[in-house]
Symmetry: C2
C-alpha cells in the first residue's frame, strides 16, 4: 500500500518522496529530535530530523505509519527543562504529540492492518506503540480532523466554554487567537451553545475577515492595529461575560477591564509569554475581579476527557449543520515540521496547523 | 443614660467628652463628611468633622446613638468617583459604614429604647434610619464584636474560605494581612475548619509573633523583612492550596508561584493598590494557572449574607472554645475617626480597627 493511499481523504495533494528516499523502495522513516533547549524563540538549530530506529512490534503493540501530526503551542513548554503538567522533552530523543496514522502491523486484539488510529507519538513518520494507548478513528472523516475539531482542539474549546467558563445562553464571549485552531472552534461552539455575541481578535486583516465572514463571529479586530482594550470596548460596549484566553498579556488585561458582573475567564494558553526570557508584567487591573466577582481559571484538556463522548456527539451535529467548520493550514513533510511549529508560534496558521507526512 | 453606659462591655476606658461639648448637657452630635476626593493617599484635608443636622424620627424609623463604628479598607474605594460595587461617597455629605449603637427613640415595631442595633450609618454619632435596615444584636456580646468576628469581618473570612476557596480539610492556607481584621479571622477559621497548615504574612515582628503565639497560626513572616516569595516558599515548602488575598501585588505573585495543583485564590481585597495613582503591574506568573489548573476569584461579602446564620452558629461555638479570638484596636472619639481610617490603610491595627464614640 503506498504512503499516498494510506493518507486517505485528508491528503488531496500527493507528497513527493524526500530526495534521499528516492533510491530506496521503503525509505527509512524519520523523526524530529530536540537537540537543545531553546532560550527565547526556538530555532532550527534546536532540532534535528534524523532516521528513526523503529523497534520490533511486541505483543499488544501496533506499528503505525503516521499520516498527519500536530504542532501545538503547548509543545514550547515541553521544550524547556522545567517540570510542568507534561514532562519535558528529552534532549536527543524524538519529541511526542498528537498524530493519526494507519496500522501497518498489528499484534494487538482489535487492531487490524489498515485501521486509522489516533495516538501520542507524533514528530515521526512511523511509530510502534502499545495498542492500549491508541484509539481507532472512523476513516470517513479526514485523519486531520481528529487532531482538530474532532480531537483535542475541539474538546479544549468545548471543555473551556462549558466547564471552566460555564457558558450560559445570552453570554457575550470574547476569544483571542480567534483564527487559530482552538480559537476558531471556541467562537463557533460558543455561538452554537447560544452566546448572544462572539468577538474575536486575530493578527491580520485577512484573519479578521475570515473569522467574521467564514466562521460567523459577530465581530473581530486586528490586535496589531490598535490597543486591544479600546478595540474590545468598541466591539463589546456593554462588556463581556466570558473571555477564552489563548494569549495572555495585553489581551488578558483588556478582558479584565471589560468584564461584567460575575464574568469568567478560562485560561487555555498564554502564547504571548511562552518565548519570553524575562517574565512580563501581568494585568494591572486584577482588583477589578473584586467588584465584578470575576474569576480567572486555568485548565488543561487532559482533565476533561470525560466530556469527549458528549462533545463528539454534539460536534458531529454541528459539523453536519455547518455551525462548526474545520479549517486547516497544511505543511507537507516531516522535514518541514519544525517550520510548521515555528509558524504556529508566530501565528501564521489559520485554523489547525497540520503536518502531512 | 450616659454615653459611657451605653457603650456596654466593649468600653472599658471612659471617654472624655470632647472639649467643645463640655458646656452643653446634650452636645450636638457630629459626623464625618468627605469634602474632596483623595488622589493617592487620603489626608485630613479630604474630610471634615462637623455637627450633624439630625432629622426627626419618622414612622418606621429609629434614632440610634452609635457606640462603635467601623473603618475599613474598602471605604477607600468609595472615596473615589468611579462607580464600583458600592456607590461613591457624596462630596459634602456624611460617609456611611458599619456601626452599632443603642436605640434612643423608636417609632418602629420591634425596636425599643435601649436595644442594641447593627446598621450602616457609621461615621456619625447619632443616626436616624429605617428600622428595616437595622438588625437588633444581643447585648451580651460587646457591640464591637458585631463589626468584627460576629459581623461582616467574620462572615467575609468564612464566605471567602468556604464558598470562594472551597477550603477542604488538610489544605495548606496562606493569608496576607494576617494580623488585620479579616486576615486574623481567616487564619483562625481555616484552622477550625481543618486546614493542615495556616501561614500568615504581617507587617511587623510584633504582628508576626501575635498571629503565631496568640492566634495559633502555624507560621508567619514579616513581609517587609524580605521578598514574599522566598519567605512563603520557606514557610510552605510543598506549596499552598488556598491563598486568601487581602493585599494583592507582590503577595499575589508569590502565592501564584506557590500554588499547588487545583489551588484556589480568593481575592477579598488588594489594599496594596488602593492608593496607587498609576496602576501597578500585576503578577508575572499568571501562566502558572494553566499547569496548576488554578483559580483566582474575587468576591464581596454582600453576595453571601445567606451564610450569615450558619456562620453565626459556628462562630459562637469557636468563640466559646477559644478557637476564634476577637482582637481589636480601639481609637476613641469621632474626632479621631479619620486617624483610625488612615491607620488601617497603613496597617497600624492588630485585629479589627474600631472607633469608639
Amino acid at each position: 500500500m503506498s504512503r499516498r493511499a494510506l493518507a486517505g481523504e485528508a491528503l488531496s495533494t500527493p507528497i513527493e518522496p524526500a530526495p534521499e528516499a528516492t533510491l530506496m523502495s521503503t525509505p527509512t522513516p524519520r523523526e524530529v529530535r530536540l537537540v537543545s533547549r531553546p532560550v527565547g524563540w526556538p530555532t532550527h538549530a534546536d532540532f534535528e530530523v534524523v532516521e528513526s530506529c523503529v523497534p520490533e512490534v511486541g505483543d499488544g503493540q501496533i506499528r503505525v505509519r503516521n499520516t498527519v501530526m500536530s504542532v501545538d503551542p503547548y509543545m514550547r513548554g515541553r521544550m524547556s527543562a522545567a517540570k510542568s503538567y507534561a514532562d519535558p522533552y528529552v534532549i536527543g530523543e524524538a519529541m511526542t504529540g498528537g498524530a493519526v496514522g494507519v496500522v501497518e502491523e498489528s499484534r494487538a486484539d482489535g487492531f487490524a492492518v489498515g485501521d486509522h488510529v489516533l495516538h501520542g507519538l507524533g514528530w515521526r513518520e512511523v511509530a510502534v506503540l502499545d495498542a492500549a494507548s491508541a484509539r481507532r478513528v472512523d476513516a470517513a472523516a479526514p485523519d486531520s480532523a481528529y487532531l482538530g475539531v474532532l480531537g483535542m482542539t475541539g474538546l479544549t474549546a468545548y471543555a473551556g466554554l462549558t466547564r471552566i467558563a460555564a457558558l450560559q445562553p445570552g453570554d457575550v464571549v470574547f476569544v483571542s487567537g480567534a483564527a487559530g485552531a482552538v480559537g476558531s472552534a471556541v467562537g463557533q461552539i460558543a455561538k452554537a451553545l447560544g452566546a448572544s455575541r462572539v468577538i474575536g481578535s486575530a493578527g491580520s486583516p485577512e484573519k479578521v475577515r475570515h473569522v467574521v465572514e467564514d466562521l460567523g463571529f459577530d465581530a473581530a479586530f486586528d490586535y496589531k492595529a490598535a490597543p486591544v482594550s479600546g478595540q474590545l470596548r468598541e466591539a463589546a460596549p456593554d462588556g463581556i461575560d466570558v473571555y477564552f484566553d489563548n494569549v495572555g498579556g495585553e489581551h488578558l488585561e483588556a478582558a479584565i477591564g471589560s468584564l461584567r458582573l460575575a464574568g469568567r475567564i478560562a485560561v487555555c494558553g498564554m502564547i504571548s509569554v511562552y518565548n519570553d526570557t524575562e517574565a512580563a508584567p501581568g494585568p494591572r487591573n486584577l482588583a477589578r475581579l473584586i467588584q465584578t466577582r470575576g474569576c480567572i481559571r486555568g485548565f488543561l484538556v487532559g482533565d476533561h476527557y470525560d466530556l469527549a463522548g458528549e462533545y463528539a456527539k454534539r460536534a458531529a451535529g454541528w459539523l453536519a449543520s455547518g455551525e462548526l467548520q474545520s479549517r486547516e493550514t497544511f505543511v507537507d513533510g516531516i522535514a518541514h515540521a519544525v517550520d510548521a511549529f515555528l509558524g504556529v508560534l508566530r501565528g501564521e496558521n489559520t485554523g489547525k496547523m497540520i503536518v502531512r507526512l
